[in-house]
Amino acid sequence: MSLTFDDGTFIRTDLVAPLPPPRRQIGVVGWVRENLFSSVLNTVLTICGILLVAWVVPPFVRFMIIDAVWTGENREACLGPDVGACWPFIHAKFGQLIYGFYPIDQRWRPDIVFAAGILLMVPLLVPSWPFKRLNSLLFFVLYPVVSFVLLTGGNIDASAFLFEHFGLIHALVGDVTVAGVNATFWVDYVLTAVAVAALVGGLLALLGGSGTGAARTTLWVFLAFGALVLVWDIDFGLEYVETRQWGGLLVTLVIAVTGIVASLPLGILLALGRRSQMPIVRLLSVVFIEFWRGVPLITVLFFATYMLPLFLPQGTNPDALLRALVGVALFSAAYMAEVVRGGLQAISKGQYEGAMAMGLSWSQMMRLIILPQALTLVIPGIVNSFISLFKDTTLVLIVSIFDFLGQLRASFTDPNWASPVTLYTGFAFAGLVYFLFCFGMSRYSLFVERRLNTSHRR
């Protein structure tokens, strides 16, 4: 055995280029083999699936677009053997579906409310946008008040109601009206505010607490409430539109947005109550939350419609929509409380301890440290409960408030448009609207979830 090295030896200095993978495993063919026909069961499933798609999709597209009727004045256009969706029906009923029976010449008012809502909502939802604090203040405080005045027409006599209970000067002087605003009431109001603030401040100072602070807080509360009453009291010259005339998408959005705006502060309070150390406060919060979460929304609406008027003083007969709103707000507050509680529980104990070590009081700790973090964490949860609230607004049709679905149902009975395809067209359109709203929101909540999720997922 000898080892020879002759000069003819070939030594490769670089790697051979790799062969391409077998053609059956790459590209379209490879993907199809891997994903669709990897086993017998898979092949059967694929074929069944494709058959299902072929059975559903072409007739759907034909109905919605190809065979659809696009122009017409009444039902005549949509009669025929192979007619698809009757879009002129939607066109004719569009106003009714969006605004209900809101007076046609006043529809610019809901339009402004819609536009303002979008203008305030979009910057609030985009995480990188600045001025979040101002923006949410505008959306959660100013927007509801402005919308209320715009939609109803404002000029409600809130002062007259309050008078009968708290009037001091009124009893002596009677009504003195200056520029459409009841002056006596406001003198009365200021006097009451000062008196109550002095009383509260004095009482606290007597007990050794900070009297001036308490008095200042009381005055702020009176100021905020007074501003609200003043805005409602001013006559802007808008025509009064009673809520019975509202309807369609307007009512759907009013209920959903009111529900979420009202339930957020209430839900935060309840969540804090449930996590509190004080047994009575905790018990009350738990009972409240579990009660509303345990009953269906329908019974809540029945409660608000039939039972609530019995609980209020005789003679007060609140508006039907307002009653439904109260029910929806209480109901969604309970769900919101659980969402917020989840956020509070996710904040590590170190944050609480750190805040306390800095010498912050309980309210400062919550306001400055805990709640900002907890609320950011639960944005997806809040959006999800908004989605379910949005879907639940359809239930008000059972207590005869005509929301979007209610208007749709009502429009089916119009003999002018009675045709075999009317029903399907209506359902297709309403389904599309609901789907776009809910799907859009659920995508947004997913987006926030991904943004917040910094863990490494497999």
Binding site: E34, N35, L36, S38, N42, L45, T46, G49, I50, V53, L204, L207, G208, G209, Q277, M278, P279, I280, V281, L284, E290, F291, R293, G294, V295, P296, L297, I298, T299, F302, F303, Y306, M307, P309, L310, F311, L312, Q314, I387, F390, K391, D392, T394, L395, L397, I398, L405, R409, F412, L423, Y424, F427, A430, G431, Y434, F435, C438, F439, S442, R458
Partner: protein, 396 residues
């Protein structure tokens, strides 16, 4: 040192109002007073209002004659029955929808949930579309769609869709054969009960034996043959006492069989498919929550694919799936109150609807209705909590 001693009494001078203990007690007393005063005001107003409207209070109305008909009753009921009986009829109808809906929703939900994780692109696509579409449409919309657009569009009884001459689908509902229980049915039922008890006992014994010896017994096959075999033997002995009455078309309508009203079909199908979309998501997240290492570890121990799934993945996934699954069941039960939208006689429609309109006793009726749902959800959450305690990971 002296500084500290001298500062200590200074703290005691600070007002007792700043003492956290005093504050917390004071706050609680204030909260309690507010709640009691509000409750007292509501009660007082209610008393005055009821007196003004001359509405009697109390639950005596339950014994009065109802005087309205109900189009689906599981127990004998007529217009001369009492409101109390109408309540029971409505409650049973609610439970019927809930039970059938829950079974259907679970089956569809698990299939779709597994489909969303399938390697097969077509299956995954269809499952995803199913979940996204059904989840994002309001349930009442779906119920109305099934009721108005699907079931009302069915042919009339004369041209009804005929399945094997046994089941007929028309716009009057679905007609299915009615089982007739002849003599000897009792024995068959006893056999069923006995088989069930035997199967449970055998399962326990087999588990104990596996702990002891390590041998696995074919529990599934033994129990299946027990559950099918015993009632079959009883049937053969008694000469097949259970027969089916076939529906027949006579004139314009069907005679015989059981008519399942379209309201029931629309409500159950809509709720089941709607809830199934949520269950599918729970199932998917439950399976995804089991880490991939578990599968790898099971494979390296030599378990086959089926065994890995059955013994390792599913038990762990179920721990994640079951709590949200129960809350979906509860949601379905609560959503069954949407029946009132299409006129299915459930608890809300019969009791909070018709009975309330006739008697005007809003407080009693709404309290009872809410109470029923509350009791249902409390029972569920109690069961859930005990289950959670049993399966929760014990951290040592």
């Amino acid at each position: 040192m002296t500084d500290l001693v001298e500062h200590a009494p200074a703290r005691a001078k600070s007002s007792f109002i700043n003492d956290p203990k005093v504050r917390s007690i004071g706050l609680q007393i204030i909260a309690l007073i507010v709640v009691v005063v509000l409750g007292w005001m509501f009660a007082d107003n209610a008393r005055e209002n009821l007196a003004a409207q001359k509405i009697a209070t109390g639950f005596g109305f339950l014994d009065n004659t109802a005087g309205f008909g109900i189009n689906q009753t599981l127990i004998p009921y007529s217009e001369t029955s009492t409101y109390g009986r109408a309540f029971v009829v409505g409650l049973l109808n609610t439970i019927l929808v809930a039970v059938v809906g829950i079974i259907l929703a679970t089956v569809i939900g698990f299939l779709v949930g597994i489909g969303r994780l399938s390697k097969n692109f077509v299956v995954r696509l269809i499952s995803t579309i199913y979940v996204e579409v059904l989840r994002n449409l309001p349930p009442l919309f779906q119920i109305l769609f099934w009721y108005l657009a699907v079931l009302s569009a069915m042919p009339n009884p004369r041209q009804s869709i005929n399945l094997l001459d046994e089941v007929f689908i028309s716009n009057r509902g679905i007609i299915i054969p009615r089982p007739l229980f002849g003599e000897g049915t009792g024995l068959v039922l006893w056999a069923m009960g006995l088989a069930l008890i035997c199967a449970i006992l055998f399962g326990h014994w087999a588990a104990a034996r596996q702990e002891e010896t390590g041998r696995r017994l074919p529990v599934l096959w033994v129990n299946l043959s027990l559950l099918i075999g015993l009632p079959m033997i009883a049937m053969i002995i008694t000469g097949f006492p259970i027969t089916f009455e076939r529906p027949e078309l006579k004139g314009f309508n069907f005679v015989g069989g059981i008519r399942v009203i379209p309201e029931f079909v629309a409500l159950t199908v809509a709720l089941a498919t709607y809830t199934a979309a949520f269950i599918a998501e729970n199932v998917r997240s439950g399976i995804q929550a089991v880490s991939h290492g578990q599968t790898e570890a099971a494979h390296s121990l030599g378990l086959r694919n089926g065994q890995t799934l059955r013994l390792v993945i599913i038990p762990q996934a179920m721990r994640v799936i079951i709590p949200p699954l129960t809350s979906q069941y509860l949601n379905l039960t609560k959503n069954s109150s949407l029946a009132v939208g299409i006129g299915y006689p459930d608890l809300v429609a019969v009791f909070a609807g018709t009975t309330l309109n006739q008697t005007g006793q809003a407080i009693e009726i709404i309290a009872i209705t809410m109470g029923v749902y509350l009791v249902l959800s409390i029972i569920t959450s109690v069961i859930m909590n005990s289950y959670n305690k049993r399966v929760a990971l014990v951290e040592r």
